[in-house]
């Protein structure tokens, strides 16, 4: 009997370990409108006391320049790998429960969302910090590009920023 009990106990413990390791992460690149509610729900956890949802939207005015819409392009295979890697690194840096990132590509109208990041953690501080860090790293490392389309009919790729170092840095 003790042997059977031991087996069951080990099985339960094994499941608990699997549960902590296999935290599902919502990572996606989509062409349709972002479902931010679904992303927020994906980070829900009974262990969390805080969920942070950041949503980046298309801004109409940047200084004097007026934008009519943005369009995004990505290197999909690598972008997915990098987004997953950022979530893994965030999980290592902070005691967060879950996180997820969705990015839209194609045309994104004024006020519509192009990106959303969600993080849950036992306490809010880590969730806020991790969400901000994820957005910063996304803008530096993930192969996604934005093109601004202006009211004057002009358009240009936004290629500011520095060259990315191999390994993507660890800042």
């Amino acid at each position: 009997m003790t042997g059977t009990y031991g087996l069951v106990e080990r099985a339960i413990r094994h499941c608990q370990i699997l549960e902590t390791v296999l935290v599902e992460t919502m990572i996606s690149i989509v062409t349709e409108k972002l479902d931010t509610q679904k992303l927020l729900e994906s980070v829900s956890s009974p262990k969390s006391g805080a969920s942070v949802l950041f949503v980046g939207t298309t801004r109409q005015f940047t200084g004097q320049r007026e934008t009519t819409f943005l369009s995004y392009e990505c290197y999909r295979e690598m972008a997915i790998v990098k987004l997953q890697e950022l979530c893994d690194r965030a999980q290592e840096k902070w005691p967060i429960e879950k996180c997820g990132i969705v990015h839209r590509i194609g045309e994104v109208a004024i006020e519509e969302a192009s990106v959303a990041v969600a993080v849950s953690s036992p306490h809010r501080e880590e969730a806020f910090q991790a969400a901000e860090w994820l957005m910063e790293r996304l803008k530096q490392e993930v192969p996604i590009w934005k093109k601004e389309h202006g009211v004057d009919g002009g358009q240009h790729w936004v290629h500011e920023g520095s060259v990315i170092e191999p390994q993507g840095g660890s800042a």
């Binding site: 980046g56 995004y72 392009e73 990505c74 290197y75 295979e77 690598m78 972008a79 790998v81 990015h103 192009s114 990106v115 957005m135 996304l138 803008k139 530096q140 490392e141 993930v142 192969p143 996604i144 590009w145 934005k146 093109k147 790729w157 936004v158 290629h159 500011e160 920023g161 520095s162 060259v163 990315i164 170092e165 191999p166 390994q167 993507g168």
Partner: protein, 81 residues
């Protein structure tokens, strides 16, 4: 060896296609690929200098070696978000 380099965003517009086929010597490195790319498409010179390159979906340095089986890509400065 023949390598098909993926290109994106402004680089893709300059090329007019999503890739550039390059002929490289065996054992070529990323720096050799850049030289071959600029020879093939001189209009890319300025952007190549500001871009990163990736091998098999990982950022690579100039000294990293390329093989025919690799997926290579030119990554202009990114601007997601």
């Amino acid at each position: 060896m023949k390598v098909r380099l993926k290109v994106f965003a402004a680089a893709k517009e300059i090329v007019g296609l999503g890739y550039v086929d390059l002929e490289l010597t065996d054992g070529a490195r990323v720096c050799d690929l850049k030289t071959a790319l600029v020879q093939c498409v001189p209009e890319l010179r300025a952007l190549v200098g500001r871009s990163a390159f990736a091998i098999d979906q990982r950022y690579a340095s100039d000294s990293d070696a390329i093989s025919e089986a690799c997926e290579v890509a030119m990554i202009p400065p990114v601007s997601g978000g």
